[in-house]
């Protein structure tokens, strides 16, 4: 033992070696070492992320299960929580404030329930995104994986949560006389696009939140303002009757409003195409692609710095 270690020890200091005196970067190049923690090129990053798809899915499911694992009713709360939410919103906006504005009860209640759940999907993805890095710094500092796994996983968790909520939505829709038809299938592309949009937002906010964790305190206010401006509890076209056309169009181009209206259009018989802005699917696609693409690149640009906190 002693002989080998001794040789090793001496070599550190004085032994003649062809590598002696070589600067670190040249030595690294000679033996093919790479800079630790360097950011991979974009396509390589996408490939690595795809390689982690099982982790992303398992992590989102684990978070979802862990949420209610201490409750006696357990996973029943997955459906009970959105149901109670819908009841509260109906009581406040349907009964007390009467925000239905000319929509019949049969239309307004599904309208409201869909609005609340679809908006909550975006809202909770954003809130989870802000904390995706800053709240999981322990994980980021312990294991190696493409960091985009975290915000995307949180958005995926919210998508699964929404699928539970959709059970309630279907029940409410049927309960108010809207029966399943072919148009119901339209919620699939609508929610897929919304999921992309939400993931993009989560990626953007994850990077911002990693640098400025204070955003977690600020975002609830931003999100609430956005919610009231998006026509969750009222119909934008109904509320703004008499206002200039472009104001209505602008309000309707709001991505949250676009995705809500698409789901309502798909599920509610009394909510026809007249409530939708022109080129609504193009808008939905544009928001999804632009925000996800932009958010992904924006997040990737800081990949090597997330461990700093």
């Amino acid at each position: 033992m002693s002989e080998t270690t001794h040789d090793g020890g001496v070599a550190l200091g004085a032994a003649p070696s062809p590598d002696e005196g070589l600067p670190a970067d040249r030595l690294a190049a000679k033996y093919g070492l790479s800079v630790s923690g360097a950011r991979p090129p974009l396509m390589e990053y996408v490939r690595q992320l795809w390689g982690r798809r099982h982790f992303i899915l398992a992590f989102s499911q684990a978070k979802l299960t862990a949420q209610y694992s201490q409750a006696k009713l357990g996973q029943v709360w997955q459906v009970a929580t959105p149901l109670l939410n819908a009841a509260v919103y109906y009581f406040i906006f349907g009964v007390i404030l009467k925000a239905s504005r000319g929509m019949g009860h049969d239309t307004y209640i599904p309208f409201l329930v869909i609005g609340v759940f679809v908006f909550t999907f975006t809202q909770s993805s954003v809130m989870a995104g802000v904390r995706a890095i800053s709240g999981n710094l322990g994980l980021v500092r312990a294991l190696h994986f493409p960091r985009a796994s975290l915000p995307i996983s949180f958005a995926l968790q919210q998508l699964q949560q929404l699928l539970f909520s959709m059970v309630v939505v279907f029940l409410v829709a049927i309960g108010f006389g809207n029966y399943p038809g072919l148009s119901w299938l339209l919620i699939v592309p609508a929610l897929v696009l919304q999921f992309l949009f939400n993931s993009g937002l989560a990626l953007i906010l994850a990077r911002l939140g990693a640098k400025t964790p204070d955003l977690a305190q600020l975002m609830p206010f931003v999100m609430r303002t956005w919610m009231y401006a998006s026509g969750v509890m009222f119909s934008i076209s109904g509320m703004l009757v008499g206002k200039p056309e472009w104001v209505i169009r602008l309000m309707q181009a709001n991505p949250a409003a676009v995705y809500m209206d698409l789901v309502r259009f798909a599920l509610i018989d009394g909510y026809g195409a007249s409530h939708l802005p022109p080129h609504v699917w193009a808008l939905a696609l544009f928001w999804a692609v632009a925000v996800f693409g932009g958010g992904f690149v924006y997040f990737w640009k800081a990949e090597e710095r997330y461990g700093r906190g």
Binding site: L12, G37, A142, E304
Partner: protein, 270 residues
């Protein structure tokens, strides 16, 4: 065990010494929010965001310079101990080598992807042991098939099921010893190129300690280069042939185990 290891190392050392980790004038700085008094209120948080452009100290951020200009070259087949008092930057240095913490200045070059032995951060207390094995494995980058193949091995190694069917209970119901055993078993299930082990991994009762020390030795055999952080000079002597001594983030000494430990023991007054 020591003889066996040195024999293996000698064999590898016959050829040219191949570097696996090169640290070049490495500096690591942590930024800590809210370290100044009276900065916890809501208005202060807002004003801090508004003051983004100004320098860090004005925004209530304190800098902690944890590693200051450390340089060394580690070679294939070496087992390197990291010693130093608490807060001297040992764990930070490991994380920087693994590429988990960005360098403020300087660089680390590595051969392949070094990994820290440890998976704690990925596990969730509210999930069953079973699901945590899968989640932890995926977090470490194993494939589903690999995990399925090793699942029974991991559970048996942890010994969780020796006292009944505990693996299907949530981890929060485990005693701290049981949880530590499961965590170690998951973390140790994967082989690594450059392996870094932080102190106090071998926890649990005496029988499990023996088993985990055995497993660490196995992992070391598989790995090309090993870093071990420990406050236990005996385990450093047993496993390492070279020691880096860090003090206040600076590399105070780098050399053969006995030489450095002698100085270190003098320093700590043992």
């Amino acid at each position: 065990m020591a003889d066996q290891n040195s024999g293996r190392r000698a064999a590898r050392n016959d050829g040219a010494r191949v570097p696996t980790v090169i640290a070049d004038e490495l500096h690591i700085v942590y930024r800590v929010n809210g370290a100044k008094s009276g900065k916890g209120s809501a208005t202060a948080a807002l004003s801090r965001i508004l003051k983004r452009g100004s320098d860090d100290s004005a925004r209530g951020v304190r800098k902690v310079h944890a590693v200051r200009g450390v340089s060394f070259v580690a070679y294939r087949g070496e087992a390197i101990g990291l010693i130093g008092s608490n807060g001297s930057g040992k764990s930070t240095l490991l994380r920087a080598i693994a590429g988990l913490l960005p360098a403020e200045k300087g660089r680390v070059y590595t051969d392949g992807q070094p990994s820290l032995l440890g998976v704690n951060a990925a596990l969730m207390n509210d999930l069953t042991g079973e699901r945590n094995v899968i989640l932890g494995g995926l977090a470490m980058g194993m494939s589903r098939e690999e995990i399925r193949g090793r699942y029974q091995e991991i559970v048996d190694f942890s010994g969780i099921n020796e006292k009944g069917d505990f693996i299907t209970l949530p981890m929060r119901t485990y005693s701290s010893g049981m949880a530590a055993r499961l965590r170690f078993s998951i973390a140790a299930a994967k082989d690594h190129d450059v392996l870094m082990i932080d102190e106090a991994l071998a926890t649990g009762d005496r029988a499990f300690q023996k088993r985990s020390e055995e497993r660490i030795r196995e992992l070391r055999k598989e790995a090309g280069t090993v870093f071990l952080v420990s406050h236990n000079n005996k385990s450093i002597r047993d496993t390492c042939d070279r020691v880096l001594w860090l003090e206040r983030g600076e590399l105070r000494m780098d050399g053969p185990t006995e030489e450095v430990l002698k100085e270190y023991e003098k320093f700590t007054g043992k």
